[in-house]
Amino acid sequence: MNNQRSLQLLAFVSLFLVVTLLASSSFAQQSSTPLSKVENAYVSVRAAERAGYNVTSLDASLNNALGLITQGTAIQASDPAGAQLLFNQSEAIASQVATSAQGLTRSGVSPASLREAYLVGGLVAIGVAMVLVFFFLPTLFWRVWTRTRADSVVFRK
């Protein structure tokens, strides 16, 4: 009797979970508009830009995708099928842009990290040079100075 109740409870919980998952998946599909696809692609482009990559061509593609959304929105009432076609093209461009931007950010050391590394490396090198200058430059200077004047004769008045 207890086992039967447990099974019923388990079945109820499973059903609840399945319904919840289906509902959330359906909601996610509904909320994915052409504009939200471009917004997501833009976030990927910004991540690549922050990493120091040149994203001018990706921006141009995003602008094309947004242009199609602008056109589609303008004709949506009079030509829904034509508008949908434009929205689909826009989504395809946005997906390509997102893939390219994510590919950039995943490809090894970013230019921003490299620039930071150059800065730190440069400052460390300058610091080392300062220590060397402080301790050894006067000695080196006088050594060179006496060598260059090895043949000189000093007259005393």
Binding site: V45, N63, A74, I126, P138
Partner: protein, 160 residues
């Protein structure tokens, strides 16, 4: 005495190099005064030949001009709205009206874009205020926020 002078001169040169290195890194990474701009141009893409009279239901050609100098790529939306003389709009408050049209752009830092647009009024009125507000997409909040930039045009709209 001379040793101290030699040391000071050499260390001074190294300090100048270090400051130059840090300065270059800083100025490459930052834009001093970020701004966005929106403007409305006449039918020929110039700052003239603006219509002052419009007939209801007739198409008028204008050009929308957007500039990005935010120091980063930007995604913009320009909302075309209608108001009148008493409508309030400023750098912090957008016009309290629903958009009659929306135009979207994506621009790289330092980029600008001119888009030909068609304006058509649906009702008559004196001093109809056509407003184009510039909104930017904020990736941190995932929302569209008003940039404080707008352009406007006053026309008298009549019925044919």
């Amino acid at each position: 005495m001379i040793d101290g002078t030699i040391r000071a001169a050499a260390l001074g040169i190294l300090v100048i190099i270090a400051v130059g290195l840090v300065g270059q890194y800083y100025f490459v990474s930052n834009t001093s005064q970020p701004f966005s701009e929106v403007g409305i141009l006449g039918p020929k893409g110039e700052f003239n030949d603006y219509p002052t009279q419009m007939t209801v239901g007739v198409n008028y050609s204008l050009n929308l001009y957007v500039v990005n100098n935010q120091g980063q790529s930007m995604m913009y939306a320009v909302y075309e709205e209608l108001g009148n003389l008493s409508s309030i709009i400023n750098q912090s408050t957008p016009l309290a009206a629903s958009p009659v049209a929306t135009y979207w752009f994506a621009l790289p830092n330092g980029g600008n874009y001119t888009l030909p647009i068609i304006v058509k009024l649906s009702s008559a009125g004196q001093n109809v205020r056509l407003v184009w507000e510039l909104w930017g997409y904020s990736e941190s909040t995932a929302t569209w926020t008003y940039t404080g930039a707008w352009a406007q045009l006053f026309v008298n709209a009549t019925v044919l």
